[in-house]
């Protein structure tokens, strides 16, 4: 398989996509993971790798309005996609790091802060994406619907209890999470 001194090398592609409302052109190998493209090419490190096998949900992003595990999406299929990451949940300029402290937070983010939904924080971006996505589809979920909606996001710290409480609290606020981008 490797010829001469280096394994066979394919070409990188350019893909145009929209991330957090901004049009971007990114260069990547066609089967690079969207997770790596987001973290490295787009510099958006808020999306995390927890397992690299689509089990933990730490890499979850919104992809054409649908919740997906970005570790399972090849770069080529992200062409023309509308993507929202944790950096795009909330007010403020989503492609900048170093937001001012006074930025607006999404109702789900605020609820996680108030109710202990985040402990170590590594599952939190994916969990918040999943919760935001759930509430966009189902604004008043029952606890069992919340459990099902978040079943693809593993958390080792919280035992999920305060995550459920956070999501239920977010439902009760008047400020609603934004619509998923289609």
């Amino acid at each position: 398989m490797p010829d001469s001194s280096r394994p066979g090398q394919g070409r990188k592609i350019f893909l145009d996509c929209e991330i957090n409302g901004r049009a971007l052109t990114l260069e990547a190998y066609p089967m690079a993971r969207l997770l790596d493209v987001l973290r490295e090419q787009a510099g958006l490190t808020g999306t995390k790798e927890g397992c690299g096998e689509g089990e933990c949900g730490a890499c979850a992003v919104e992809f054409n309005g649908l919740l997906v595990n970005s570790c399972l999406v090849p770069a080529l299929q992200a062409a023309s996609a509308k993507i929202r990451t944790i950096e795009g949940i909330a007010g403020g300029n989503p492609l900048q790091h170093g937001h001012p402290l006074g930025e607006r937070l999404d109702a789900v983010q605020q609820a996680f802060l108030a109710h202990g939904g985040a402990q170590c924080g590594i599952c939190t971006p994916g969990m918040i994406l999943a919760a935001v996505n759930l509430l966009a589809r189902n604004p008043h979920p029952s606890e069992s619907e919340i459990r099902e909606g978040l079943a693809g996001n593993l958390c080792r710290c919280t035992g999920y209890t305060k995550i459920f409480e956070s999501v239920l609290a977010a439902c009760r606020t008047t400020e609603f999470p934004s619509e998923p981008q289609r």
């Binding site: 190998y29 949900g57 649908l66 919740l67 090849p74 079943a151 693809g152």
Partner: protein, 287 residues
Amino acid sequence: MRSYVPAYEMETPRDLSDALERLAQEPGVWKPFAGGTDLMVLLEAGKLPHRRFLNVSEFSELRGIEIMPEYVTLGALTTYTEIRRSEVLAREFPLLCRAAAETGSVATQNRGTLGGNIANASPAADSPPALLVYDAELELVSVSGARWVAYQGFWTGYKQIGLRADELIRAIRLPRGMRSWSHYYRKVGTRRAQAISKVCFAAAARMDAGRVADVRVALGSVAPMVLRAVETEKILRDRKLTRENLRAAQDVLAREIAPIDDMRSTARYRGRIAQNLLAEFCATLPA
């Protein structure tokens, strides 16, 4: 990420015919890539030997759920989420909706496709038992044309199906008419969500005054292929549901399946649970 990603290629053909052309020109060189929920896991583990993929996820010919007088037809790219949201499937083919709901998680369901699942041919997949109960048929297309095949018998071995190297699955159709049957689905996995099944049991029966007029039973994870338990069905069919018949059916079932020990479960457990689920299914049937 364990694979050497630069060595992998993926291209998007212009359209479906272009894709079929390329599959025909270089058979075995290009493989179709749909939602990626199976293939990307292999890639990340360093276990994806195949290197060149055709992105078929955009083709509208492979999308959509069509309701026709005799069939409900699903495009191969129908996702589990779309299956779950389909009213006609919920009404007439509930086992498929149950299977979709038990597959992975919301994120997996949004990307995973029925055609991809069938092509991946895992004996532990959640939808195939439902498809077998519903006598699903597959439409396979290539440059030579299209052919319909029964899904039952389409498996040729462990993780192998009768799909030619130049063929793509275009659609799956389910003959209508089972709406009034009693449907039963149970997946026994390692946990409540995101679980690979240890035993997957799908069944349906039409009762007539206490007799099992017709019955279909299909299982996953208990053999190298998902199977219709046709011998078990024979024991139950045209008979009253008695303890003796059930016992006899359970014995036949034990011989029809071939469960193994693996890191998730044991042959003994799988075999016993398959029998228990058969009993549970029968217990749900109206007397």
